[in-house]
């Protein structure tokens, strides 16, 4: 109904606004997963971390009335989840993919358990910056009302991209991810580096969760995530472990996710649930298009189990 003023232009505008809104958690989770995978380990449990982060952020924001404290708390518990994953995977014969699935179920269960009392109360929301104040059209104002975490995520992507090439930490991360033996020869302990990388990945994924509960949709319930944590893993492969690629891919996913609601807002209601499936179909198509049975993927960390 709102889109009547600017006609069909409301659809691309709504998709743009939706892409930014929906992509923010993807950016954080995929950056976290990219760091973890760069170190040669895969963490499929980020879905659990994301939901637990969402619960923690919401609960802390309800109690302290500060959404930013909520984000910090979520980062702390996310790092803890990452440390548990990294610690367990250190042992021989432990499968990091299976541990990820188990950590996902554990994180979801614990989040639903501890989050039960916080379904009702309302938490303060994270702020947004009104870039659209110059316009008279409410649609443009709404579309350009960009949340702070999106800007933080985009900035982080740039920083990570630069740091992975130009800093000592970035080099260490890539060496460990490409060859454990080479890392040992350099005097690095691959397990320790991977522990830190997984912890950082968990903390970032939890920020994605905090965004879900504190900005959009901005409430805590058991259906808060629709698989963002898992799609992010596929997205990282598509983005070739490149942080900037991750944010662009996240935007693409966000756009796909926003297509259904945008069409609905101009009166196209048929097949709403099919549009809901668009991000999943897109992920799958992208995975099929970018994978190959014979050669390993360009840019893939050598020690990563998922691409073998």
């Amino acid at each position: 109904m709102e889109a009547i003023g600017i006609g069909v232009w409301g659809v691309p505008l709504a998709v743009f606004a939706g892409a930014i809104r929906v992509s923010t958690p993807f950016i954080f989770v995929s950056l976290g997963e990219a760091i973890t995978e760069r170190s040669g380990r895969i963490n499929l449990g980020l879905e659990g971390t994301l939901v637990f982060g969402a619960m923690t952020a919401y609960a802390v924001a309800v109690v302290t009335l500060s959404p930013w404290l909520g984000v910090l708390a979520a980062m702390a518990v996310g790092a803890c989840f990452g440390i548990i994953h990294g610690f367990i995977c250190k042992f021989p014969k432990v499968n990091d993919i299976a541990i990820g699935i188990a950590m996902m179920q554990f994180g979801l269960g614990l989040a639903f358990f501890l989050g039960k009392p916080f379904i009702q109360p309302a938490a303060p929301r994270l702020p947004a910056i009104a870039f659209g104040a110059w316009s008279d059209l409410p649609q443009i104002q709404a579309a350009l009302n960009i949340n702070v975490l999106f800007l933080v995520g985009a900035a982080l992507a740039l920083v990570f991209w630069w740091a992975s090439r130009n800093t000592r930490v970035g080099l260490i991360l890539r060496v460990v991810g490409d060859s454990s033996d080479a890392a040992r020869a350099m005097g690095l302990n691959p397990d320790t580096v991977r522990l830190f990388a997984t912890a950082a990945g968990g903390a970032l994924a939890a920020i994605g969760g905090a965004y879900l509960s504190l900005y959009y949709p901005g409430s805590w319930n058991e259906g808060i995530s629709s698989g963002q944590g898992l799609m992010a893993v596929a997205l990282v492969i598509f983005a070739r472990w490149n942080p900037i690629g991750c944010s662009l891919a996240a935007l693409l996913f966000g756009g796909a996710g926003a297509l259904g609601p945008a069409l609905q807002s101009v009166g196209v209601t048929k097949g709403y649930y099919l549009f809901y499936a668009a991000p999943y179909v897109l992920t799958l198509v992208i995975m099929i298009a970018t994978s190959s049975p014979t050669r390993s993927l360009a840019g893939a960390p050598g020690a990563l189990s998922i691409t073998k």
Binding site: F106, G107, F113, S226, I237, Y273, P293
Partner: protein, 376 residues
């Protein structure tokens, strides 16, 4: 731990020294998975007890309630068995590909689409065909759809190099979206107001209970499926080839084994079992296809399969155990005021600990007869 690969340097004497020794060695090797799994369950329960104690509830009361709600009375045993029935099939959906080294976690998708296909194909037949024939057609349709859905993950894995774990899960999300689309739209029974569903099956087309019990036939079907799968893996050349391919793909390819066909075949069979679970949910429990099909049986099945170490026969007791945990959830909620997610926490804890304990395999001397001789 310090002894490595002793078996290569010492000649193996199995079968030649007396008759007692080999059977002891056989027992020791067989006891390892059981002992480590039981150890892991104990550790998991201990951690869970600490958690429950920390939030100020009594773990002892909790375990008493789990026993009472899951296995204490004939009524609760029947309840547990009913809940175990779909888990038998969804666990097979994870365990069969796992024997080939694939981690497929999208059983939920096969359940959902299997149930949907069964409900959709039954509706035009109801009234004109006898129930037995309708059930057969429903089961075939469900298994076919499930086989295509999970088989697709295997196909993409082998022929396109797509990671099967993520692909199967994405397919599960797509399946749930398809279910929602069809039961809200084209297949919706106008009479279903609050909960969109397909038109219900008439009562005489519902799969009844096993005589003498209040448990539906799904349990029998599940047990048969597990037994057949065990025979397939342990006693046929197809299963043997799959085990080789699961152990070492390169070796299997050099041997000329059809790895691609094995992967597609096993994932398709796994999906067929998942689809069958959906058909049973529709024909024995729900009576129609609706959102309750995505009740998480596919996800609990992952835990069952890993607990059973992907052994189809071991799936049977593990599924009953987890069915019991599930059945006692309501009692714990009412008596102790704990949220329904308590059982999810317990399952997650067990899952993590079980996988962690994989690291103990081959480390305990008592289970490794090759190390006995050294100390003797």
């Amino acid at each position: 731990m310090t002894v490595e690969a002793n078996s290569h340097t010492l000649p193996r004497l199995d079968g030649r020294v007396g008759s007692l020794r080999p059977s002891l060695e056989w027992l020791a090797r067989r006891a390892e998975p059981l002992a480590i799994t039981l150890f892991a369950i104990l550790i998991g329960l201990a951690l869970f007890s600490i958690f429950i104690a920390l939030i100020g509830k009594s773990p002892i009361q909790l375990f008493e309630l789990i026993y009472a709600g899951g296995f204490g009375t004939w009524f609760s045993v029947q309840n547990s068995l009913s809940r175990a029935a779909p888990l038998l099939l969804t666990a097979l959906c994870v365990a069969l590909p796992a024997r080939l080294g694939l981690v497929v976690i999208g059983a939920e998708g096969a359940v959902v689409l299997g149930g949907l296909a069964a409900a959709a194909i039954a509706l035009p037949l109801v009234g004109s065909a006898p129930p037995l024939l309708v059930w057969l057609i429903m089961a075939l349709a469900a298994m076919l759809v499930g086989a295509v859905w999970i088989g697709l993950s295997g196909f993409l894995r082998h022929y396109r190099g797509v990671n099967e774990t993520i692909a199967s899960l994405l397919l599960a999300y797509i399946a749930i979206a398809l279910l929602n689309h069809l039961i809200e739209g084209p297949l919706r029974d106008p009479a279903s107001l609050n909960k969109p569903s397909t038109a219900p099956l008439p009562p005489d087309y519902m799969l009844g209970s096993i005589p003498g019990m209040d448990v539906h036939w799904g349990l029998v079907i599940g047990v048969i499926a597990c037994t057949l799968s065990w025979v397939l893996i342990e006693a046929t050349s197809f299963g043997f080839a799959a085990r080789i391919a699961g152990g070492n793909v390169r070796a299997a390819q050099i041997q000329g084994l059809p790895v691609g066909r094995l992967i597609v075949g096993f994932t398709a069979l796994a999906g067929a079992f998942g689809g069958l679970a959906g058909m049973i949910e529709v024909a024995a429990v729900q009576g129609s296809a609706n959102a309750s099909l995505a009740a998480g049986y596919g996800y609990t099945g992952i835990l069952v399969a890993f607990l059973a170490r992907h052994n189809p026969l071991a799936i049977i007791p593990v599924a009953v155990l987890l069915g019991g945990l599930d059945a006692s959830g309501g009692l714990i909620q009412r008596r102790m005021g704990l949220p329904d997610a308590t059982m999810l926490v317990l399952q997650g804890t067990l899952f993590v600990v079980i996988l962690f304990c994989e690291t103990f395999y081959g480390r305990c001397k008592i289970f490794n007869p090759d190390l006995w001789k050294r100390s003797a």
